[in-house]
């Protein structure tokens, strides 16, 4: 499912690519609690592209922290919550390769194991409709240029699960390359894990630190101001090291760069940390010229 590049949504006609598309946002528990600017950015981008974004409030977590630590039974309440919450939607999007990977790879396994065949079938159906953010943009909406503006030098860290579980491939690069004003520099050894790994960072803190130290060194070598990735858990680890080193390099989620427009940039100074007014812009929002000034999304303000 991740290899298609032909947009599946053709209902938009001559309007915006997302017109008529109803998308449910799975924010993920980590973003909900710790990094709200990222799901806000997803909302901003999708609404700018014409989508109707909904955030079903009954959502909680994909269950991955339980599953990956070996607590399969404990993951089941979160799994059930996910299936019940997102069953009514044709498109579910999440700004986390890892959580999407967990939904797609682990939910069917866990549901099978529970012996609940009905739940297993439902979990499979919902997981097949769950997209990593770059997949929804490139595969479903058929866009790489989302009208973003980000006049900074950045380097992209492909997170392990976006690389090897959801397999988003070059989609994030194509999205970044279409951003105006941006300079994207290659990250050495980019496909190497940052050392987060959920409870791995705690259980094997020394090894995890050795890994993230190398990642931070490679990032510093690029001379970038920002390291961008599709997963805030990894960025929390990388950012924790970069911050401890007083490196002056910031972390930013891909969605926040894509949400950033010429207008939001000019408003950034005064609006830091206040979030966005995500009213859909009046015009064809994916064209920066047509993006009106209702957006004051702030990128990279964590």
């Amino acid at each position: 499912m991740t290899e298609t590049t032909k947009p599946t949504n053709t209902s938009g006609g001559a309007g915006r690519p997302g017109d008529g598309l109803r998308v449910a946002l799975f924010a993920t528990c980590v973003n909900d609690a710790m990094f709200p600017e990222t799901p806000k950015a997803v909302v901003a981008v999708l609404e700018r592209l014409g989508c109707t974004v909904e955030f079903p409030l009954t959502q909680t977590c994909c269950g991955q922290p339980f599953t990956n630590t070996g607590y399969f039974d404990e993951a089941m309440p979160a799994l059930r919550r996910y299936v019940e919450t997102f069953e009514p939607y044709d498109y579910v999007v999440s700004p986390s390769g890892s959580c999407v990977g967990s939904v797609r790879d682990q939910h069917p396994m866990l549901a099978d194991r529970s012996g609940d065949t009905d739940l297993a079938a439902r979990a499979r159906a919902v997981s097949a409709r769950t997209y990593d953010f770059p997949e929804l943009l490139v595969d479903v909406l058929g866009v790489t240029d989302v009208g973003a503006y980000f006049p900074h030098r950045v380097t992209y860290h492909p997170t392990c699960h976006s690389l090897r579980v959801t397999r988003v491939g070059d989609r994030p690069y194509r999205l970044l390359e279409a951003v105006r004003g941006i300079t994207v520099v290659d990250l050495p050894a980019r496909e190497e894990c940052c050392g987060f790994g959920g409870t791995f960072a705690i259980k094997n803190a020394d090894t995890s630190t050795a890994m993230v130290a190398d990642k931070a060194r490679h990032i510093a070598d690029t001379g970038a101001e920002f390291v961008v990735a599709g997963d805030n858990s990894c960025l929390m680890n990388i950012g924790g090291m970069l911050s401890r080193q007083r490196s002056g390099i910031e972390t930013i989620h891909l969605a926040e760069i894509l949400a950033h427009t010429q207008d939001s940039a000019s408003a950034a100074g005064s609006a830091a940390g206040t979030g966005i007014d995500a009213e859909p812009p009046a015009g064809a929002g994916f064209d920066p010229a047509a993006t009106d000034d209702t957006l004051d999304m702030v990128g990279g303000d964590r």
């Binding site: 528990c29 990094f35 600017e37 909302v43 404990e74 699960h161 090897r164 791995f200 259980k203 090894t207």
Partner: protein
């Protein structure tokens, strides 16, 4: 692996020193895998060994780049992987057919088949075979002397046995199965010297060391360390290293060749493993790079091969796939330099006395786990080690067994069980980055198996009433929290509240070092303060319009938008 209950090897004793009991014949390993601490602690040794870090970084990157290059040359690599997995799966599913067939084929070819349930039994069989082979040699020599009319030693029958036992020795082809059963030490205890003839295994043996890699056991050593080991040790165990030995690879190889040559020519027994065992023909296959294996497989009169039961392949045709997958995945070579195949003894050519020890040692337990059994597909190529970011930094010793790296983390706890903390820690020795699966030539889903084994660890702890631990209690509480969004929202409200407090108090959004339980993270990394408002709170504030469609959330009143 069955822990050997007898006394650990006397460390540091060399021929002549005789400090502890009987004098050792071979270099004593400085430590054994038995008794090592669990991975998180053992890892520190590797992480702080800067020489080893540098050696491993260089070696793993070189070999992984080489592999990537030669794999990219094969158009149908994915199809080969799928075929390799299917072949191994078929063999494993029908071991009840293929193993008896292998035994019948081997026997028909004139080989002797022995079955070993565990390491102890395998080692006992091997010791007996070596002793018997030696006795036969002595007898043959004696009758030759008698026939030749030489009446030199008198009263032979009295002093032959002790004298023979003092001289017992074997040469070895590099073999993971014999490492797994710790055969060298078992032979040493029986007074038999086992000489490693693979260059890297020789370095490890002479260095009183343990192997740290499946393919390159001395990967943690660089050539100047190898030179020092050769100069220091070779003379104690045979021909010394030449004076003025440099660390040039050609000179080091020459020193090893010269040292080993006398052992090759003298030994009457060789011990090998096998990469593959073909059921239909009784053919064993050894894949190696140096030619030392070929020497061992052809020169001595007796050949004993220790073969895990999962090494069986149904047909010779299956080798076509395996011999394409293995060299490219392991050494990054298109073809393997020395591929030896033999089917029992051949009159006048090679060993005349051929034995095969078929080893279980936990493999049938692995087979019983329908998820975990795919680990038995492993063909010991070590591509997963070379790509693993954890292995690259920690090295192989911290994995506490002959099988390090990702494959060891899933195989060892299955072979040995989860009774000790070392084996229970192994499935957690991974960040689940998934790089190992992508390079595995037989598509072992290593990340899935790591998670599967973690589940077995948790189940085992629950069963043994080692729970509730802090972790289990945390997981249970979080599970309850995530089972209902209202509970999660309450937690978020508390978090945002603490976020506000923290941000006000610290006047910054980054938190520095904290005591336990945050210490493992914050000792080396800052922590972001929670934001003052959760996403959901923002959304409810900004977006929730009771009249909008799609907000009729089950179990929530429209007015409240499902919150609280």
């Amino acid at each position: 692996m069955t822990p050997t209950p007898s006394t650990p090897p006397a460390t540091g004793t060399r021929p002549g020193s005789g400090t502890v009991g009987k004098t050792r014949r071979t270099p004593a390993p400085r430590e054994t895998f038995l008794g090592m601490p669990p991975f998180p602690t053992a890892a520190r040794g590797g992480l702080t060994n800067s020489q080893q870090r540098r050696n491993l970084r260089h070696a793993t990157h070189t070999i992984r780049d080489k592999r990537a290059k030669v794999v990219a040359e094969v158009d149908q690599w994915e199809e080969l992987r799928v075929a390799g997995a299917a072949i191994k799966d078929r063999a494993l599913r029908h071991l009840d057919v293929y193993l008896p067939q292998l035994e019948a084929s081997l026997t028909a070819a004139g080989a002797h088949v022995h079955w070993a349930r565990d390491a102890e039994e395998a080692n006992r069989i091997i010791v007996d075979l070596v002793r018997a082979a030696h006795a036969a040699d002595v007898e043959a020599a004696t009758s030759a002397q008698v026939a030749g009319g030489e009446a030199e030693p008198e009263g032979e029958t009295d002093d032959l046995a002790p004298r023979a036992s003092d001289d017992l020795e074997v040469v070895k082809v590099k073999s993971m199965a014999t490492q797994e059963i710790e055969m060298n030490e078992a032979l040493e205890r029986a007074g038999i010297a086992a000489w490693e003839t693979d260059l890297a295994e020789l370095i490890v043996q002479l260095g009183h060391d343990l192997p740290s890699h499946i393919l390159v056991p001395a990967i943690h050593r660089n050539r100047s360390e190898v030179r020092d080991i050769f100069l220091r040790e070779m003379g104690h165990y045979g021909k010394p290293a030449p004076e003025g030995l440099t660390d040039e690879p050609a000179r080091l190889a020459e020193a090893a060749r010269t040292h080993l040559r006398e052992k090759f020519l003298r030994a009457s027994v060789a011990i090998s493993g096998a990469n593959f065992a073909v059921a239909e023909t009784g053919t064993l296959v050894v894949v190696e790079s140096e030619g030392n294996g070929r020497m061992c497989l052809t020169l001595p009169r007796t050949l004993i091969s220790v073969v895990g039961i999962e090494k069986v392949l149904p047909t010779v045709e299956d080798l076509e796939v395996m011999l394409r997958l293995l060299p490219r995945s392991s050494t990054g070579e298109r073809m393997n330099p020395y591929t030896s195949m033999w089917t029992g003894p051949t009159e006048g050519d090679g060993p005349s006395d051929v034995h095969v020890v078929l080893l279980d040692n936990g493999r049938t337990d692995v087979l019983a786990d329908t998820v975990g059994r795919s680990a038995l597909r492993c063909i010991r190529c070590s591509a997963c080690l070379n790509i693993c970011p954890v292995y690259e930094r920690v090295g192989g010793h911290a994995y506490g067994s002959a099988y390090p790296g990702p494959i060891g983390a899933i195989l060892t706890p299955q072979l040995r069980g989860l009774d000790n903390p070392v084996d229970r820690a192994l499935p957690y020795a991974s960040s689940l980055c998934g790089a190992c699966f992508d390079v595995c030539p037989v598509r072992i889903p290593i990340p899935e198996l790591l998670v599967h084994m973690r589940h077995k660890v948790v189940e085992k702890k629950k069963h043994d009433r080692r729970l509730p631990t802090t972790e289990a209690a945390t997981m249970a509480a979080a599970s309850w929290l995530m089972g209902d969004h209202r509970r999660w929202e309450a937690a978020l409200a508390a978090s945002s509240g603490s976020g506000s407090v923290l941000r006000r108090a610290l006047k910054k959004d980054r938190i520095g070092p904290l005591p336990w339980p945050a210490a493992p993270w914050t000792t080396t990394r800052d922590l972001a303060s929670p934001p003052t408002q959760s996403f959901r709170s923002w959304w409810t504030h900004e977006h929730e319009d009771p009249a909008a469609p799609g907000h009729d959330i089950p179990g929530a009143t429209p007015e409240q938008g499902g919150s609280r």
